[in-house]
């Protein structure tokens, strides 16, 4: 058998079996079609097998050559694919639980019967159809055998002709050919075992008959070779036409023969091979029967077995669904109906925990179709917050086979959440094996919401009470107090006949207890022991407070109550309370209280501090004022007002502080004010503006913040406090003292210089005198009279110099000490007086005409002029045209005039212009004089508050001494 055929056949067998099983499951036309297809192909094969078996001993060779096998194989494959698709559809149907399409499983015995019936049907159908096919193809088979006979006869003839071709003996050819043909003929194998060889000589004599020698010589010329043909031919005609012929209907000796006629020219004969038709038919039948029987046996065994196996596979796949469905049995419909109508979600799971069914109610809660919910699809709508938890619990339950119970949420696609109570239990068979799960889903949203609301409310209440910074309490009266009782009676009972039913820890701590547990159950009297210290004065008595509460409709708001805590410590509470009245009786009081002890203490301290501060400000001997951030005055104490000569505070409030500052200081103070605004205190001095009397003040800015009395650092500056003190007197005294000190220092320096210089310069003549006195002694001893005279002259010169020095020094010292009151003196007069004291012979004098009147010590000023004139005369005398000029330069705006004495003498190197005024300073040692004169002048001018200086272009150009008296 060829592999192709084998595979094709097996495939078709598989398809056949599968189709049957599928048809049992799916009532559909598709499996039926497949089934019919396979049957048809099988029938055709039977027919074909019968046909081929007739013509060839080895019919498989023929079949192999048959190209029809390839499309057959393809068709088988296609059918297999179709079957696979159907199988898949069925399996998915089982998985998704589309129950209506699935048929209830049959019992195995029933299945077996079915399988056998199918097998028998298949075999019968195959046989029947095969027989019909055989009948229809019988002529074709016979024809094919006839042609086979022709080809055999032809090959015999050719063989013999070829063999005898070279014998070269035409005479003996016929005999030899006949012998050869007879010898060659050996076709005895089926289906040719009944066949025989004939040779018919022209014109129609039988020359050879391999089966019956007796027949040789018989005339067969009139035998009709093909009676079925339109023009039946006889043997003689065929011989004459020298044609070959294959025929199946030669009625040779009363038997239908299948024959092949080959004309053999070499002996002018027909070589005929005859095969009896009956024999062929028998042979075919004999060959097909065992094959058909074998196939039937195989089909009869294989089909039921395969069906059973396949069926079992589906049963396994269908698993619990099938089992559950089967278990529910006839109550299926009732169950369905219940499931549809109960207001409880019901679902079924297979034994692996996958969902196989949900009812409509569940569908509504999940918001997905039953198909989407199958398998693990039902977990998708679980609220994200609950999903992991639920899936874990479910898997654990499935794993352990334990019941599953959980409260969780489903979130529909429209966003609607449903709280459910889901509970699932395993369904077990008789052997306690889990066959599936059945569960219910209960909508508990309403319940959950109520519970949540209650819990939140409870939490709020608890949180409020526990976390409140206020003390909260509830007092229950031992006996309800009728509100019809007299107020006094009510008040008495209200303040004593109760106990604390509840309170928070804050309340407990306020009253000196550690926690609420210590307070709950306490009586009113337990909370109020005897007071220990009495630093407070009570605002009002407790009874009065209770009375006011009664009158206020059994409630009180923000009552300040001073009490004693458990340790006898005085505490102050701000209280709120509300009485609960039922049936005309006061039953309990809710209350809250706030510990305001610190606040009250602070307020009182603040008030005292404020009072102290105010009296301090009022009495302070300094100006205390407040300035806002824009620099405007807000307030000022009386001392301050008096300082600036304002009577009413309102006259200065709102005015700018800077306006009270003189212009020179304003910029500096503005900067300090800015600093103060940023929180930096500053201390400074300033002069007030002319409007307020140009007085000196020492002052400070102190930033004030709202949170702290005095701002140390950071914070928000609210305003500034200023403190100012009038220090005009002190300033004046200071400046006086400073000028005094400066004066003294100057005098001291002068004195020092003076002492030093004097010690040197006064010694100088003494050295001269001493020296020349010794000299004189020596000269006299040597009788050198001339030299002695010289010595005496030196000594007397030194003495004169000494006297001059002493006189002028005295003069100088007097200048500093003695000063006559200044008087208005015309400067011209002074010049004239001075000129009288100075010999100005041979000098040209030029005194300006309109000299000013000056205010000075007349005598001293004359001394100055005298010295200056003497100086001028001394240094210009040796000039060709000595000239001395005295004048004054007019100076504007009230300054004192600049006066001068000018000469055209030897002049002064500008380098030494300052030094000439120093004591004992002489530029020219050869000139007479003591070096005190100019020092004296400077001293007098300075005493008058003026100054003196010299200007000169240099040596030989003369010089001018200028001086002023005052600025």
């Amino acid at each position: 058998m060829s592999l192709f055929v084998l595979i094709s056949t097996l495939l078709r067998l598989v398809v056949l079996v599968w189709a049957v099983v599928l048809w049992r499951r799916i009532h559909d036309w598709k499996p039926v079609c497949l089934f019919l297809c396979v049957i048809l192909i099988a029938a055709r094969d039977f027919a074909m097998m019968a046909g081929t078996a007739t013509t060839s001993g080895d019919w498989s060779l023929e079949m192999t050559a048959d190209l029809r096998q390839l499309p057959d194989f393809g068709l088988s494959l296609v059918m297999l694919v179709v079957v696979l698709l159907l199988d898949r559809e069925l399996r998915s149907g089982i998985e998704t639980g589309s129950l209506p399409k699935l048929q209830a499983a049959t019992g195995s015995s029933r299945l077996m019967k079915t399988a056998i019936a199918v097998a028998v049907t298949a075999i019968m159908a195959s046989a029947g159809v095969g027989w019909l096919a055989w009948n229809s193809s019988r002529q074709a088979v016979l024809n094919s055998v006839a042609h086979e006979s022709l080809s055999i006869s032809r090959s015999l003839a050719n063989h013999v002709a070829l063999k005898l071709q070279n014998s070269g003996d035409p005479a003996g050819m016929r005999e030899k050919s006949l012998v050869e043909l007879r010898n060659t003929w050996n076709l005895t194998e089926p289906p040719y075992e009944g066949s025989y060889l004939c040779v018919v000589e022209s014109p129609g004599r039988l020359a050879l008959h391999s089966k019956n020698e007796k027949m040789v010589g018989t005339d067969v010329s009139q035998v009709v070779v093909d009676p079925a043909a339109a023009q039946p031919r006889t043997v003689s005609k065929l011989l004459a036409s020298r044609e070959n012929l294959a025929t199946q209907n030669t009625n040779f000796r009363g038997m239908q023969q299948l024959a092949g006629y080959t004309y053999m020219p070499s002996i002018d004969s027909l070589v005929v091979v005859h095969v009896p038709a009956k024999l062929v038919e028998n042979n075919v039948r004999n060959a097909a029967i065992p094959w058909a029987i074998g196939l039937a046996v195989i089909a009869g065994v294989l089909i039921p077995v395969s069906v059973t196996l396949l069926h079992h596979s589906y049963t396994t796949a269908q698993g619990t669904a099938q089992t559950a469905t089967s278990a529910l049995g006839e109550s299926q419909e009732r169950f369905q109906s219940v499931c549809t109508h109960v207001p409880v979600g019901i679902f079924l799971g297979d034994r692996d925990g996958g969902c196989i069914y949900i009812n409509e109610y569940t569908e509504e809660i999940l918001g997905i179709s039953p198909r989407d919910a199958l398998g693990s699809g039902w977990t998708k709508p679980i609220h994200a917050a609950d999903r992991d938890r639920v899936i874990q619990a479910w898997q654990a339950a499935v794993h352990d086979g334990a019941p599953f119970e959980s409260v969780f949420r489903f979130r529909r696609e429209d966003g609607h959440d449903t709280w459910v109570f889901g509970s699932v239990k395993a369904v077990r068979d008789d052997h306690q094996n889990i066959t599936g799960y059945v569960g219910s889903v209960l909508d508990v949203t309403q319940l959950k919401q109520t519970e949540d609301a209650l819990r939140r409310s409870e939490e709020r209440y608890r949180g409020f009470v526990e976390n409140s910074s206020q003390g909260i309490y509830l007092c229950e009266f031992d006996e309800p107090i009728s509100i019809d009782l007299p107020e006094d009676e009510q008040a008495r009972r209200l303040s004593s006949d109760y106990h604390f039913a509840t309170c928070n820890d804050v309340f407990a701590r306020m009253n000196g207890f550690e926690s609420s547990a210590d307070v709950i159950g306490l009586k009113a009297c337990d909370l109020n022991p005897t007071p220990k210290d009495d630093q407070f004065s009570r605002s009002d008595a407790p009874v009065e407070r209770v009375l006011s509460m009664i009158r206020n409709g059994y409630q009180a708001a923000d009552q300040i109550s001073e009490e004693f805590d458990r340790h006898g410590q005085r505490v102050v509470f701000s209280k709120n309370c509300l009485g609960v009245i039922e049936d005309g009786c006061l039953r309990r009081v809710w209350g809250t209280q706030l510990d305001v002890t610190d606040r009250v203490l602070a307020e009182r301290a603040m008030q005292a501090s404020e009072a102290r501060f105010k009296s301090l400000v009022r009495a302070a001997p300094v100006c205390i004022h407040e300035i806002d951030l824009a620099g405007r005055l807000l307030s000022m104490n009386q001392t301050g007002l008096a300082m600036i000569g304002v009577e009413q505070e309102c006259d200065i409030v709102g005015k700018l502080f800077l306006d009270a500052v003189c212009e020179q200081d304003r910029e500096r103070i503005a900067a300090l004010l800015d600093d103060a605004r940023t929180g930096k205190a500053s201390y400074f001095e300033f002069t007030s503006s002319a409007a307020t009397g140009s007085r000196y003040f020492s002052s400070s800015f102190i930033p004030i913040s709202s949170s702290m009395p005095i701002l140390s650092s950071g914070g928000h500056v609210e305003k500034l406090m200023g403190i100012s003190q009038d220090i005009t007197e002190r300033k004046r005294a200071e400046s006086e003292r400073e000028s005094l000190i400066a004066d003294l220092e100057r005098k001291n320096a002068e004195l020092e210089q003076f002492t030093y210089t004097v010690s040197h310069d006064l010694k100088s003549p003494l050295v001269t005198i001493g020296g020349f006195m010794s000299m004189l002694k020596r000269d006299l001893a040597e009788q050198n009279i001339e030299a002695a005279h010289d010595d005496i002259a030196e000594v007397s010169g030194a003495v004169v110099k000494m006297k001059q020095l002493l006189d002028q020094l005295l003069d100088l010292s007097r200048v500093g000490r003695v000063i006559s009151p200044p008087a208005e003196v015309p400067f011209g007069e002074l010049v004239n007086e001075a000129l009288e004291l100075v010999s100005t012979d041979g000098l040209r004098l030029n005194v300006a005409a309109n000299l000013p009147v000056i205010r000075c010590d007349r005598m001293r000023m004359r001394e100055v002029l005298q010295n200056l004139l003497e100086n001028a005369v001394k240094f210009s005398r040796n000039q060709p045209e000595p000239c001395i000029e005295v004048g004054g330069q007019a100076v504007n705006n009230g300054h004192s005039p600049v006066l001068f004495v000018r000469d055209n003498g030897i002049g002064i190197d500008p380098h030494y212009a300052e030094r000439v005024f120093d004591l004992f300073e002489q530029l020219d040692g050869s000139m007479e004089g003591t070096g005190i004169g100019l020092a004296l002048c400077r001293r007098i001018v300075n005493t008058h508050g003026g100054r003196i200086w010299v200007e000169s272009e240099g040596p030989g150009t003369g010089c001018t001494f200028f001086f002023t008296l005052g600025d």
């Binding site: 310069d761 010694k763 001493g770 010794s774 000299m775 030196e794 530029l923 040692g925 050869s926």
Partner: protein, 150 residues
């Protein structure tokens, strides 16, 4: 002392004192050549050969300088300072010869580099003695860098 005439520069504003010093020097035959100037400016001009002292041959560099402190125009201390800060003049021995015995003067003079500080005695014998010893010390015993070279 070789044959070279020893040069002394005397800066003294008081003419009587000048006479006394000259007498003292002559009495002890000290110094062959004595130049007298009466103020600080002249002293500096002499040393630097300026003005009327521009003839270097006629106004030689002194071997010793006697300097009064109180001088007109340029004070003695200033003269001293200029000499001692001038590279060419600072080797000249400068002896302060003054009437002042003020502590400030003495310390300042030494600060500026004075080689010696002498106060003029009122008694001429002592004055004369001092001049003599001064002359011997500075001109005979003392070896100055200049005389060493020559």
């Amino acid at each position: 002392m070789g044959g070279r005439p020893l040069v002394i520069l005397l800066a003294e504003d008081n003419r009587s004192h000048t006479k006394l010093v000259l007498r003292g020097l002559q009495q002890h035959h000290i110094g062959n050549q004595i130049f007298c100037v009466s103020d600080g400016e002249q002293a500096l001009d002499f040393l630097n050969h300026r003005g009327r002292f521009s003839d270097a041959a006629a106004n030689p560099r002194p071997d010793l300088m006697l300097l009064d402190l109180r001088l007109p125009r340029v004070d003695g201390l200033d003269v001293l300072k200029q000499i001692k800060t001038c590279a060419t003049l600072q080797t000249i021995p400068v002896v302060i010869l003054t009437t002042s015995d003020a502590e400030a003067d003495i310390s300042q003079a030494y600060e500026f580099g004075a080689n010696s500080y002498l106060v003029k005695p009122i008694d001429f014998d002592r004055f004369s003695e001092m001049i003599r010893e001064l002359g011997f010390y500075w001109l005979a015993w003392n070896i100055s860098p200049l005389s060493n070279e020559s």
